[in-house]
């Protein structure tokens, strides 16, 4: 078992003929992910990756032809909102948007629309999903994680890789790793994923990687205290970040004194979460 993606995932890649789309589709297929179709407007009818993947002009046409049940988006930022609307309209129930730099007002419209349609969005500005040994959807390197019982959820990309890698170094594996992305308005937040891990039989422990900005970690702390039985270990990036500055991620900013790492660590520790001082401490905290 796992959450969100597994061997039954029939994946569509939006923006498959771009550099990143092609590179990462290759990687995903090499990992064993079942990539059934790609979409690039104007290139419908072509086949990519040595004739393995058909390209369609629209998501609707791709879904009709292939029964895709998840879509990963690699299109440039200015087209990302439309790509998400398109996937939702075509009936795709799970959308993973890797694209970074989507305008926040676009995201507010997208999120409100997708909520109406009960579509699950992960991202944008996220590394995607990895269920080790089953499916890789997005850009998380496949070789840095092994199957296991730790659920990982994170707002960061490479920081997540560090954690998976650190776990693997000590022989610990992940059930599923979910990168929810660093944007202020996104599709899936900590609570959504924590809830899925709590109900996933394969997941026994959870690692949650937060960072400065917003109050999602504080809300997650409340959720953990009231709803979770499985142990959670956390790390919060940005202890040294100055206020008022956007630390790379559009969402990583301390505004009006709110969203500091100290606040988040305090909230999590009050909820019984062990908070690591740095990512490489996480495996040992999980073993305690």
């Amino acid at each position: 078992m796992s959450i969100l993606v597994d061997k039954n995932t029939r994946l569509l890649v939006q923006g498959i003929t771009g550099n990143e789309g092609l590179f990462h589709t290759t990687q995903m297929m090499a990992y064993g992910t079942n990539v059934v179709a790609g979409v690039t407007p104007g290139k419908g009818g072509e086949w990519v990756l040595n004739g393995k993947v058909p390209v369609f002009d629209s998501v609707k046409l791709a879904v009709e032809a292939t029964g895709a049940n998840a879509s990963v988006i690699f299109v440039p930022a200015r087209f990302a909102a439309d790509a998400m609307f398109e996937a939702a309209d075509a009936g795709i129930p799970l959308i993973i948007c890797i694209t970074e730099g989507v305008a926040v007002q676009d995201m507010m419209r997208v999120r409100n629309y997708l909520d109406q349609k009960k579509v699950r969005l992960v991202g944008p500005n996220c590394p995607g999903l990895l269920t080790p040994g089953e499916a890789k959807v997005g850009i998380i390197p496949g070789n840095i994680a092994i199957p296991g019982n730790v659920g990982v959820v994170s707002r960061s990309g490479t920081l997540t890789y560090e954690v998976l890698y650190a776990l693997m170094q000590v022989g610990m594996g992940a059930s599923t790793c979910v990168g929810i992305g660093g944007d202020p308005v996104n599709g899936t937040n900590f609570i959504d994923v924590l809830d899925m891990f709590e109900h996933d039989p394969k997941t026994e422990k959870v690692v949650m990687i937060g960072e400065i900005g917003g109050t999602d970690e504080e809300k997650a702390a409340e959720f953990i205290a009231s709803k979770m039985t499985k142990p959670v270990v956390s790390f919060i990036a940005g202890q040294t970040a100055p206020p008022g500055k956007r630390m790379g991620h559009a969402g990583a900013i301390i505004e009006g004194g709110a969203g500091t790492a100290a606040d988040k660590v305090r909230a999590l520790e009050s909820a019984g979460v062990r908070v690591a001082r740095h990512p490489e401490e996480i495996p040992s905290l999980l073993l305690k």
Binding site: E20, H24, A77, R78, E100, G101, V102, A103, V104, Q105, D106, M107, M108, R109, R111, N112, Y113, P127, I139, I140, P141, S154, R155, S156, G157, T158, L159, T160, Y161, E162, Y165, G182, P184, V185, I209, E211, I212, G214, K219, F235, A237, G238, Q239, T240, A241, P242, K245, R246, M247, G248, H249, A250, G251, A252, G256, G257, R277, H278, P279, E280
Partner: protein
């Protein structure tokens, strides 16, 4: 991207929100001339991208053009929170009856735009929020529906705004929504929105922030960016698509990924060092970008050591290594460099760097400790 007061108010005016008569001046004599054109008393307002100008003495009332020139001279010579004042706004002075706070911004938790309004305007709204939260009215806007007239009326009623101003207030609210949505603002703030003694509503001060991610559809706004107001290294970094923030420490950091970049800073600090910067080279950075990043880090004279922490995912370690070599050939750095490469094509990257004179590290903690030690030794 932050806009100056005068830029924000120009935009307000373009969308039909009344603003005081006035213009921006870069010299005291220009300020005098504007004061002459306006007649009567004027306000001289420093244009810097920080708050607290008033308390710092950056906003003054002048009774005539001569005094306007004097005060402009004085303000144009000031520094406010470290930022030199390069421009002043010369506005006609208003006789004020009431001051209101009125803004539209993003509520990230609600995933919707939110109107914030308060009859207690003119002061620091964060202070009001902290001490008298009940005085701030919040109304969310459906992003697909937009601001509706009744929402403006609800706010007017909740603020106990006199009825005679409801129509003007409604128009200003509608227009501020158009400002916010038409410019992809993350903040469109009028503080204060005043009722003058002659019964007009005027946006006396304005503050706007534009979503950098949306600038592709606002070339006119992109041009408003005041690069005088940011560190030159940050301007340079933006050219290359790098995310760079200058800090006060002495250990330069070059990292891929924002979360990992913050973490690298945190670990440096944890092991007794001080980071000199935040720098995220982004996903998929090529050699040229990496070289630019290195030049930017090394132009800071405080930097006594550099920590490279690259976890290859989209970014390929060999590309980063090539960038480092290119930059080293060009910049010829004199400070010690600690490199940690993990992930996609890490081995190839390490092979490329084998002959360069660099300190290598395996773990994050190891890399940070070595960088701290190197900076102290240098």
């Amino acid at each position: 991207m932050k806009l100056h007061e005068y830029q924000s108010k120009q935009i307000f005016s373009r969308y039909g929100i009344p603003i005081p008569k006035g213009r921006v001046a870069a010299t005291a004599s220009e300020a005098r001339q504007i004061a002459e054109e306006l007649g009567g008393r004027v306000v001289i307002k420093s244009q810097v991208l920080v708050g607290g100008r008033g308390k710092a003495g950056g906003v003054k009332l002048a009774k005539d053009p001569q005094e306007a020139e004097q005060l402009a001279t004085q303000i144009l010579g000031m520094e406010i929170k470290g930022l030199p004042v390069r421009k002043v706004l010369v506005d006609e002075a208003a006789a004020i009856d009431q001051e209101i706070y009125f803004a539209i911004t993003n509520d990230r938790a609600a995933r919707k735009p939110v109107i914030m309004a308060s009859a207690a305007g003119g002061v620091d709204i964060e202070e009001v929020a902290a001490t008298h939260p009940e005085k701030i009215i919040k109304v969310h806007i459906d992003p697909l529906l937009g601001l509706r007239d009744y929402q403006a009326r609800d706010i007017a009623a909740s603020m106990d705004l006199p009825r005679e101003y409801w129509k003007d207030f409604g128009a200003i609210a509608t227009n501020l929504w158009k400002v916010y949505s038409g410019t992809d603002a993350t903040l469109a703030e009028i503080n204060p929105l005043v009722i003058t003694k002659d019964r007009r509503m005027v946006a006396l001060d304005g503050k706007m922030m534009i979503d950098d991610n949306a600038l592709f559809r606002h070339s006119d706004l992109s041009e408003m960016r005041d690069i005088d107001e940011e560190a030159p290294a940050e301007t340079e970094a933006r050219k290359y698509g790098l995310s760079f923030i200058k800090l006060d420490g002495n250990i330069g950091c070059m990292v891929n990924g924002a979360g990992l970049a913050m973490t690298s800073m945190d670990i440096v600090k944890l092991f007794g060092g001080e980071p000199a910067n935040f720098l995220d080279i982004g996903g998929g950075a090529g050699a040229e970008t990496v070289a630019a990043a290195m030049r930017i880090i090394l132009t800071d004279p405080n930097v006594k050591a550099v920590l490279f922490n690259i976890f290859g995912g989209i970014t390929r370690c060999d590309e980063v290594a090539k960038g480092i070599l290119t930059a080293m050939a060009e910049v010829k750095p004199k400070v010690p460099m600690v490199v940690r490469l993990v992930g996609t094509n890490a081995e190839e990257g390490r092979r490329l760097l084998a002959n360069a004179n660099m300190i290598t590290a395996e773990t994050l903690a190891d890399a940070a400790q070595k960088a701290v030690a190197a900076a102290k030794g240098a």
